[in-house]
């Protein structure tokens, strides 16, 4: 049961990752690519860590997995913001 749950979570996480990177490759401009990327970061890794957490033997590993997800979540929000700001600044200059 746990195995099935975990598999489902990991596979759906993978789907978001792939959707994110295909979006990054196919979408026409920076801002829409930003949008695609946050999918991979937030949902892809979130589902993956959830799936792996079901396998974790001890609480400390689960804690680390949660921390990894939170760190990437915060980092992706912050860097998406910074990159968008930077791009806007560049546009204004030119």
């Amino acid at each position: 049961m746990i195995d099935a749950m975990s598999s489902l979570l990991i596979v759906s996480g993978l789907a978001f990752y792939l959707a994110g990177s295909i979006g990054l490759l196919r979408l026409p401009d920076l801002y829409s690519r930003l949008h695609a990327l946050t999918k991979a970061d937030n949902l892809g890794l979130g589902l993956l860590t959830a799936g792996l957490a079901l396998h974790a033997q001890d609480l400390f590993v689960t804690l680390k997995l949660v921390l990894i997800w939170l760190a990437v979540l915060a980092a992706s929000a912050a860097s998406a913001h910074l990159i968008a700001q930077h791009a806007r600044r560049r546009e204004k200059q030119s």
């Binding site: 920076l30 860097s79 700001q85």
Partner: protein, 87 residues
């Protein structure tokens, strides 16, 4: 279960590979930074899967460090200098 993890690891590697195409192609530096971000996230996921597949629990710590430093690149790239600040 192991097969699923293996297939997922290959999937993530593919995702990393697609990000790599964007890093090499650009066109703007912002695009390249974004793609580097994706490579980082895919790398984190890949390391987590490898930690189970290769039975190397320490790779979770490597993933943790990568995750914690994921924002450093973007901040170093966009950070504006004091005094001059003419970017």
């Amino acid at each position: 279960m192991s097969e699923l993890l293996t297939v997922s690891a290959l999937g993530l590697m593919l995702s990393l590979f697609l990000g790599l195409l964007r890093v090499v192609r650009g066109p703007s530096t912002g695009d390249r930074m974004l793609a580097t971000q994706l490579i980082g996230t895919a790398g984190v996921g890949l390391l987590l899967l490898l930690s189970l597949l290769l039975k190397q629990t320490a790779l979770i710590d490597v993933a943790l460090i990568l995750a914690l430093l994921a924002a450093v690149a973007a901040a170093a790239f966009t950070g504006q200098q004091r005094e001059t600040g003419d970017d």
